[in-house]
């Protein structure tokens, strides 16, 4: 025999949910998707965007990618010197940066390993294609998504302090 108070409480929960859904001030938690776009949370991991100017074609993301779905092509070129009279600098010019979203599993390792903050998570989620081959997105498309990347949110208080690897000597 189930416990009666819990059972009555359960009835109350469903009834209250129904009233809340029907109230003008409440409403359902879902949205009628094709008509109303769902608002993802700011840090939602929808798609990976590329900030092209920051990319040095170091290939770290490509090598760390578990699915090998990042394609990078670059060539060496000379950039003007930083100071007057200096030597021209040798830099990598990015020719191609593509992510194959039919392979990508959205692990975000590329975003984590990028040493120059060139890759970002964007909450954009509408990038489905009819043909699977069309999911290979080049740097132009990846760059467009940069506009949907939200502003950097400050960390929560205390989260930036890194714990010391070696604990301080405690004479106790």
């Amino acid at each position: 025999m189930p416990k009666v108070p819990g059972m009555v409480k359960g009835l109350g929960v469903t009834f209250k949910t129904m009233v809340d859904t029907l109230k003008p001030s409440g409403g359902p938690v879902t949205v009628p998707y094709p008509h109303v776009k769902e608002e993802p949370t700011a840090r939602a991991r929808g798609v990976i965007a590329l900030h092209e100017d920051n990319c040095t074609a170091c290939m770290l993301c490509s090598r760390e990618c578990p699915d090998w779905c990042i394609y990078i092509e670059a060539h060496k070129t000379l950039a003007p010197p930083r100071r007057a009279g200096g030597k021209p600098r040798q830099v990598n010019a990015l020719d191609r940066f593509a992510i194959d979203y039919s392979l990508c599993m959205y692990c975000g390792i590329c975003v984590e390993v990028c040493p120059f903050d060139a890759l970002f998570w964007s909450p954009e989620y509408e990038f489905s294609e009819v043909r699977i081959a069309d999911l290979l997105h080049e740097k132009e498309r990846l760059g467009e998504w940069m506009q949907t990347v939200p502003e950097f949110e400050p960390y929560e208080a205390g989260s930036e302090a890194k714990p010391k690897k070696v604990p301080a000597y405690d004479p106790r």
Binding site: M1, L11, T30, P32
Partner: protein, 344 residues
Amino acid sequence: MPMLLAIELAYWQETAIKVAVMAVLVPTTALILGIVFLFKMMSWMQSRMGPQEAGPRGLLQLLADGVKFLQKEDIIPDAADRFVFKAAPIVVLVSTFLTYVVVPAGPDLVIENLPTGIFFAMAVSSLSVIGVLMAGWASSNKYALMGGLRAAGQLIAYELPLVLAVTGVVIQVGSLSMQDIVWAQATGEIFGWGGIGLPLILTQILAFFVFMAAVQAELAQPPFDMPIAETEVVGGYHIEYTGFRFLFFFLGEFATAFAFAAIAATLFLGGWYVPGIPPDSVWANVVGPIALFVKIMFVSFLIFWFRFTYPRFREDQLQTFAWKYLIPLSLVNITVTGIVVVAF
């Protein structure tokens, strides 16, 4: 209105009208319950909107689903007992149709006012067990058979509290006729005050509780849906049915829910009687169906509210609940009712 009632019809004309009314009424009730409760209320209780696209506010969704069912291929397994397989949904649906026969919607609005109305309703509603067993057996599928056997065990176990709960009402009224039960409630008095008649839920609240619990199990609705538990026996006796045969089961389930809600409304809430309108006036025939419909929707709301709130019981909990709690409760109710009726 008196003119209309005065028209004399031949027997065959009368029967044809009754059959037509039933043929329209039963699928409509299933549609109403499906849309209002299964689609809309369940969605609201889960903080969703429910169907939105088909028709205004998605109200035609179930019609669209019905058309979809009709388009599906009619598959019968090779090893199935073909005749029994085909007959099973029809048996279920026939039992549903027959239940409607005795439910009165007004002083004169009843398909057939049998003197043993409630007995007839209980008897034909338990016919559906045979259809379910037939479906389970004929599908030549172990899950279907398990589901069918579960259904048989469950429906037989809950037939008893259902009938015993009705017995309390019958003892108090002193008649098995549904019309007499409504009249008794319409003309009854609460300690000499006849303002709202005497809805039997006031005196038979225990029977009402037992009846609703048993109805929930009879309909195989959650929390008593072990026969069709999709996580355990993957749909039970439905498993091999497609297209319009599945639609028959679906119609049967919801039309039976409506019929049982109608019986509960008639037994406990006064049926077609509305306080303020004398039950012997012609207006009772006009307002009666509306009043009955409102009461049915209230009872259905309770049924579906429980359905959407509780998770499924275990098989042994189900049997324990029937044999150890509901049946003793209803026996106590019968005893008390009998003593009170004899004493006063």
